[in-house]
Point group: D2
Chain length 139, copies 4
């Protein structure tokens, strides 16, 4: 879990956070979720592997406004040797309202964009969490 | 149809256009498609109606790079009294490669965010194009 | 003082934070400095006054990278009935290096963009801090 | 000379183009000015040289709004073996109003950020234009 505060630059002339800003927030949430579990994204990149975004989906439920604090809940939902998927919930912190939910699908690539295998430790870690997710979803 | 050129500011450290930039391009494509059909978005807003984004979906197929020219094909796929949906294809102009595809779903709202009816002329226009789309899809 | 962490979306293909991202960070630093002194920018806007940016200046000294934590030091350097100025220093947190410095000049405007007087409490507060700044600069 | 159209994503809740967006427009103007003179920025980068931004200055005179077409006039004002400077004017196309002016200073660097010499053809080209600028300024 991490929190961001909506920046003035992220608003648009409707007086709300622009829908494009949420994409950057998902990314922040993903990076911080990894860090909180001991996996630092820059270390993955130092091993020559990046998680390119292959697909993105967002549902906007409640407008967010300048200065709102937003809790980003990220979780791994699937992991395979060459990629993984995340799901997200964006919660407005002051009242707990679900503002948006979304998902991203990622492919492991090298600096030239060629598909790679995830390092074994990363794959094992992601798989374990994806399985926990599925187990919890069943309950 | 409209074209954008990938800005340097839109690249990220993977050396490609950041996946978040595509969201702004869909928006540009949508606004220009409307204009090319005689419907100027600022005139809709002048009538007190905005098309808030309720959902967004993007599939990334081929990386785009700084200075690439990208053709944005937008089309209405559904229209109702209180909203509409668009679909998009992003084509890399120099070789015609499909770089990404996506869709957005919109709700007509007023300045306070309350759901509104689309002005009759806009609804009629959007419905007509959505029907054409469906007819063509059937062929 | 506030801290931001460089987002992946804020990098460019040079592998560093894009120079445009700094503008948003100055804004974050300004808003947080005000909040830390008991002045919430949304409350100024609720009184019908915004601080439009009239001028901006940035000097980039040391590149910032993805995941760097950056300390933003903001301070008021001048205040008058219809505007104010801020100066900023961006410090890379892990080693204390001065990464960038800058300034912004602001004009108080209403929602239509017409020049306004700052509310008396805001003006008094900003003036007091601007004077402290000048006193300290003399020592 | 090049033109951009203010994107909806570039507006903020003041109902105008956010001041940060102008930074990206200067960049677009610089790249297009180079291209119009036969110098393609990607070709400079292919030679291992980038023009890192060392300083930036912007004066905002007239607010720009969503859908405004803006003419970006860029010109080289100085060139040396290891860097150059540009100046810019942003003109609102529909009425010719000067909306903003600015400048950027650049240092030639390699991919690791180390200072480089500009390729001889680029330096010669930039110097010639900077001299023309100065001659015209004297008249």
């Amino acid at each position: 879990m991490t929190e961001i505060r909506v920046r003035f630059a992220e608003t648009d002339q409707m007086g709300i956070a622009h829908h494009g800003a949420y994409v950057d927030w998902l990314e922040v949430g993903r990076v911080e979720w990894l860090r909180q579990h001991g996996y630092v994204y820059t270390e993955l990149e130092a091993q020559g592997v990046s998680l390119a975004v292959a697909a993105l989906e967002l549902s906007y439920r409640q407008a967010l406004r300048f200065d709102d604090v937003v809790r980003i809940e990220a979780r791994v939902t699937a992991a395979a040797s060459r990629g993984c998927s995340f799901a997200y919930r964006l919660i407005r912190s002051h009242d707990g309202v679900l503002a948006a939910s979304g998902s991203t699908r990622h492919i492991a690539v090298d600096a030239a964009g060629a598909v790679q295998r995830l390092p074994a430790t990363w794959l094992s870690f992601l798989r374990q969490h994806a399985q926990q997710e599925r187990s919890q979803a069943r309950c």
